[in-house]
């Protein structure tokens, strides 16, 4: 981490803490949604950016997490327990789903997860005894910790941002561990990783399962944030949106999901002026970005910084630069 990055994160943290005091309720809702979706996008970034597999199931995992929390808390299970259960269930399902799909390489995970998302949607819609079908689940609770109730929007925002901070630090720590190094190795050169004795399939599976559990935790927060969930919120569209977030932010960059989710949450609001044409413009922008800079916003920033650094300080032979410096 260089100094500019540390300063940027410091400023972002101050903004994140101060922002809700200056915003209207809808604004607070939007930034809470940003925090919630960022968690899901971080999870997907593990699968996509590090393990290099396309998953179209992150929206379904958000849905599974949301329904797990909603149904368990309504059955009287304490909130923290239901929250953890959402993550664990998604981890287990992710493992079971990834196991067969990753047996074969190429793009099969994309297809299996695509099918899985549709199956989950059908299950949520059809099994009315459990999920109340298209009528959805209402009145999902927000937690209270040691007398601090998160019932109000601003309090719940801090709960979301707190969760985001804890989970992203945990992911950061994991990526620094030998495990995480293995994830990076998968991305950089899977064949070399394999030849160095890494069980690439197991690590890919692990990245997918951990990513899925982050999706589940994000879903648990999502349920409490909107307090009303229905199957249509977790269809293919949600998975595509999350995928686009990761790509737009910059897949494989740790901060990519933060940026991508911010763009994805704020852009529709800024583009109110385009009225109904928002999605057309959004889709066209993504296509243009894929053609000219498939590394996302952070990839673009990094390239611009590198280019600027080269211009400011043209690479010279080492001896000369020594002499110039003294």
């Amino acid at each position: 981490m260089n100094r500019a990055g540390a300063i940027a994160i410091g400023i972002a943290a101050v903004v994140a803490i101060a922002a809700p005091f200056f915003l209207k309720p809808f604004g607070i809702f939007l930034i809470s949604m940003w925090a919630v979706l960022t968690i899901a996008a971080i999870g997907l970034n593990l699968t996509l950016g590090y393990a290099g597999q396309i998953s179209m199931a992150q929206g379904a995992f958000v849905g599974i997490g949301a329904y797990t929390l909603a149904l368990l808390t309504q059955a009287g299970v304490p909130y923290p327990l239901a929250f953890v259960a959402a993550g664990l269930l998604c981890f287990a399902i992710g493992w079971l789903l990834g196991y067969p799909a990753l047996r074969v390489q190429h793009h099969y995970l994309a297809f299996v997860t695509l099918a899985f998302t549709t199956l989950v949607f059908l299950f949520l819609r059809n099994e009315e005894w459990l999920t109340n079908g298209i009528y959805g689940v209402n009145g999902i609770m927000r937690p209270t910790f040691f007398g601090w109730s998160t019932g109000k929007a601003i309090d719940f925002y801090f709960f979301c941002v707190g969760s985001l901070t804890v989970l992203s630090l945990a992911t950061w720590w994991m990526l620094r561990s030998p495990w995480g190094r293995a994830f990076v190795a998968l991305r950089e050169n899977p064949i070399r990783a394999l030849s160095l004795g890494l069980d690439t399939r197991r690590y890919t599976l692990m990245a997918f399962a951990i990513g899925s559990s982050l999706g589940g935790l994000s879903g648990a927060l999502f349920a409490s944030l909107v307090q009303f969930i229905e199957p249509a919120s977790f269809g293919l569209q949600r998975s595509f949106d999350l995928l686009l977030m990761v790509i737009v932010g910059g897949s494989g960059y740790f901060m990519g999901p933060f940026v991508g989710a911010l763009i994805s949450v704020l852009l529709p609001e800024w583009m109110r002026i385009t009225e109904g044409y928002y999605l057309i413009v959004y889709a066209a922008l993504i296509m243009a970005m894929m053609a000219f800079c498939p590394y996302g916003v952070l990839g673009m920033v990094e390239r611009a910084l590198k280019a600027a650094a080269v211009r400011r300080d043209p690479p010279t032979p080492a001896l000369q630069s020594e002499a110039a410096g003294s």
């Binding site: 099969y108 199956l119 498939p294």
Partner: protein, 291 residues
């Protein structure tokens, strides 16, 4: 028994349409490694070209020709030049994302430019029923089957009996070697995109009278194309045909005999089963690992 025959025939008709879509999908995959997530929207689109042409006063047959021509221009040429070509050097993933964005773009564009309501679409033949062995079969199903079979036969003749078709197959199998043998590989790739455009336009004409023309049609159709292509074998045209037909029949039978609520689920379960047990598909070759 009579109802079984009815279900089989209508399933065969839907399956034949799925097969056309899936064949186009596998052609693009074979020649340019394009996984086209907008394939369903490509089927949705020509129906609206045709409706627009008819609103201008063109008779149905002329409108169909205009629709196919516009489809070749946009779904074939423009798609290849503007979306696929700039992306190929970046690898598979950006192109996948881009086609997902394209599918969103096409859906929204049709919704805003034409209508968000389902539009009635003229059928190829007047709808009457034929009675065979006590089963009632609609002339529409028969017409759909006839057109689909004719299209597939024509495609097969093109691919196997002409010099052009064999050049295209060579390009699909080994582009480097094909180039060494003097085949203009880029042009062959372009031709497969144009063929795909014709196939989706025909599929669009066949399916729109059944489903009505609606901007969301592509979602289910695109999924059907994937499933059919994977069941049959990703790298084989015959596999895609088989996969499409299996899918169509299965779809109809499961809706009638098992559960209409989970109608959409059975193809997906089969998809997962095929990927588990026979990932190269029923008729597919195993592709060598690329190192």
């Amino acid at each position: 028994m009579a109802s079984l025959i009815q279900l089989l025939v209508s399933g065969l008709a839907t399956g034949a349409i799925y097969a056309l879509i899936a064949v186009g999908f596998t052609l693009l995959w074979q020649t340019s490694q394009t996984i086209n997530f907008a394939q369903g929207e490509f089927v949705m689109l020509p129906a609206f070209f045709i409706l627009a042409a008819m609103n201008w006063g063109a008779p149905f047959w002329l409108a169909c020709l205009i629709g196919i021509a516009l489809s070749i221009a946009f779904v074939g040429l423009v798609f290849k030049l503007i979306v696929v070509d700039p992306m190929l050097k970046h690898g598979v993933l950006p192109l996948v994302i881009s086609t997902i964005a394209l599918s969103l773009f096409l859906k929204e564009a049709v919704k805003d430019a034409y209508s968000s309501q389902a539009q009635p679409f003229p059928a190829l033949v007047p709808s009457t029923d034929i009675h065979i062995f006590g089963a009632v079969i609609s002339t529409q199903s028969v017409a759909v089957l006839a057109v689909a079979i004719a299209t597939v036969v024509a495609l097969n003749l093109l691919l196997n009996k002409t010099r052009l078709g064999r050049c295209m197959q060579a390009t699909a199998q080994n582009p480097t070697l094909a180039r060494i043998l003097g085949i203009p590989v880029q042009r062959m790739v372009l031709y497969t995109f144009l063929i795909n455009a014709v196939l989706v336009a025909i599929a669009s004409i066949l399916i729109s009278p059944i489903y009505l023309a609606k901007f969301t049609n592509g979602e289910t159709l695109g999924m059907a194309a994937f499933v059919a292509a994977i069941i049959g074998g990703f790298n084989q045209v015959r596999g895609a045909i088989l996969g499409g037909i299996i899918l169509g029949i299965l779809d109809n039978l499961s809706a009638a005999y098992l559960s209409s609520q989970y109608r959409g689920a059975f193809p997906l379960i089969i998809l997962i089963a095929v990927i588990l047990l026979r990932p190269q598909g029923l008729l597919g070759r195993i592709e060598e690992r690329t190192v």
